[in-house]
């Protein structure tokens, strides 16, 4: 993570975890029909992004990597979900019906996940993973879970390297024949990787108990809530209350283009 010395970077990780989770939770609970609310959520996320001093281009670059996955998952929903048909497509002998309910569900997935990803990218760009883990630990997230995440972060690269070495060793001795045999070899490789990982886990545990580990993950780094944290947290909560309660626009329902759009929701 490149340091930007921004307001968001200086905040206690707990503040960021609580506020960002609250925003995501509120977004999830807001019906997609309240389009204007999502506009406000977007403005709130832009304001947070502004506090992070990260350029929009940097955020967009990361968001664009993830969006296609969500789009791929959601793109079939308008065709699958049953309901009132709004459009029929005929390609040869194939007939596809797009339903209103399907379109709304598609929008629900795309809008909410895109905004959540924007928030997540901002969070990961301003918080190191070790600080994030410490924040979780201080928020009393089960220690076992935090430790598993910590080990995953530490050893995922070691395991990827190990797997790459195995793949390289195989590819150097494989010349393209006996295609079916290769599935067996890949099976062996997975087995070998599992055994090596297991043995490594044993050695790591030995290294831990030698240094006095008794089941508790301790850390010397301490975080303290500052006035800045409290102000940030209050600001986020007030903004969320305003959006959720409809104080900002006092419109319960939004007319998009016609009453029939609401059918089946």
């Amino acid at each position: 993570m490149k340091s930007t010395n921004s307001l968001l970077e200086k905040l206690d990780p707990r503040t960021k975890i609580i506020s960002f989770l609250s925003i995501i939770l509120c977004m999830i609970l807001t019906p997609i029909t309240r389009i204007r609310d999502f506009g406000l959520y977007f403005l709130l996320i832009v304001a947070i992004g502004f506090c992070s001093k990260i350029t929009p281009w940097q955020i967009l670059k990361k968001v664009c990597i993830l969006i296609p996955f969500i789009f791929f998952i959601a793109m079939f929903v308008p065709f699958i979900k049953e309901g009132n048909v709004c459009l029929s497509l005929e390609i040869g002998n194939w007939k596809f019906d797009i339903t209103y309910e399907g379109v709304w569900t598609f929008l629900n997935i795309i809008v909410k996940s895109t905004l959540s990803i924007f928030l997540l990218v901002t969070a990961t760009s301003t918080t190191t993973f070790p600080d994030f883990l410490k924040g979780l630990d201080m928020l009393r997230v089960p220690r076992l879970l935090v430790m598993i995440m910590s080990f995953m972060y530490r050893y995922i690269f070691v395991l990827i390297d190990e797997a790459r070495r195995l793949m390289r060793a195989r590819s150097l001795r494989y010349f393209g024949s006996r295609y079916k045999e290769q599935f067996r070899v890949i099976g062996y490789m997975i087995g070998v990787l599992f055994i090596r990982t297991y043995e490594r886990a044993e050695r790591i545990y030995s290294a831990m108990i030698i240094r006095g580990f008794s089941g508790e993950a301790l850390s010397v780094k301490r975080f303290r809530f500052s006035s800045m944290d409290i102000l940030f947290l209050v600001g986020i909560i007030v903004s969320l209350v305003c959006i959720v309660s409809g104080l900002v626009h006092k419109i319960e329902h939004i007319r998009v283009s016609g009453a029939h759009l609401w059918q089946g929701l």
Binding site: S150, I210, S219, V220
Partner: protein
């Protein structure tokens, strides 16, 4: 000098029945540097695992006057630290500081003491400024030094080092030897497992030779052991291979990483 470690008739057999150690007996004096040499698979690392109480062999082990058993394992581990051969096994925390402070925190020191001990250990291995670095971003030499710091921060009197110079480039080896000299001058007892005879010559007070039968066959002054060609040859520490000296190619005995003599 007082005796600090005593091992008597230690035997260890792995769960699959393979012999790990056979009738191992030796003693180490306080402040002494004992280098344990032997070919691959002679049980050197297994001995360390037994000394730390990770493996449970048959026999008698005494450390700082305490007989090693389950009740005083914690006390023994407070005074004796072990550095593993592979630093990736030793560095399991997200950052270097987390790793170095892991031991002192578990010893029950307060935050200020832990920070002081960790900074001191990092300074000793020349890794100041690496506190917030993630371990997997370090070079192999840096990882090795960070691994030593994780044990030094606990300030143990005895240090067990498993193959400390394996896989290091010459500059890293010389840095490592400097660290070992510093530790030696601080009065620490060092037990080093290696088959690097150059390191042995540089640092050892006494040498314990392990045979391929998984048992010690000789113990003595480093000069006496390193000059015993027959002993080294028999225990796979010296070998014969072809050498080229300008235009002349011939066979003769050669010591791994040691002074080339004719």
């Amino acid at each position: 000098m007082a005796r600090i470690i005593k091992v008597s008739k230690l035997n260890y057999r792995y769960p699959d029945g393979t012999i790990g150690l056979k009738d191992v007996s030796f003693e180490v004096e306080e402040g002494e540097t004992m280098v344990i040499i032997g070919a691959n698979g002679t049980g050197k690392s297994t001995l360390f695992m037994n000394l730390m109480g990770i493996l449970d062999g048959d026999g008698y082990i005494e450390v700082v006057g305490l007989m090693l058993n389950k009740t005083n394992l914690k006390d023994i581990r407070r005074g004796m630290g072990m550095v593993f051969q592979n630093p990736d096994d030793q560095l399991f925390c997200p950052t270097v500081m987390d790793d170095v402070s892991f031991g002192p925190l578990n010893l029950g020191l307060n935050a200020d003491q832990v920070t002081e001990a960790s900074q001191k250990a990092l300074a000793l291995v020349d890794l100041q400024g690496y506190e917030s670095r993630t371990s997997h971003h370090l070079s192999f030499g840096e990882k090795k030094r960070a691994a030593i710091a994780t044990v030094l921060s606990m300030n143990p009197g005895i240090l067990l080092l498993d193959e400390p110079t394996s896989g290091l480039d010459p500059r890293s080896v010389s840095k490592f030897i400097n660290i070992l000299y510093t530790l030696k001058s601080q009065g620490k007892t060092l037990l080093i497992v290696t088959h690097d005879l150059f390191l042995t010559q540089e640092i050892a007070d006494r040498v314990l030779v392990f045979s391929e039968e998984k048992k010690p066959v000789a113990v003595g002054d480093y000069k006496e052991i390193l000059n015993n060609y027959d002993l080294l040859l028999k225990n796979n520490l010296v070998h014969q291979h072809r050498h080229r000296h300008d235009e002349v190619v011939h066979d003769h005995e050669h010591r791994h990483g040691y002074i080339h003599e004719h």
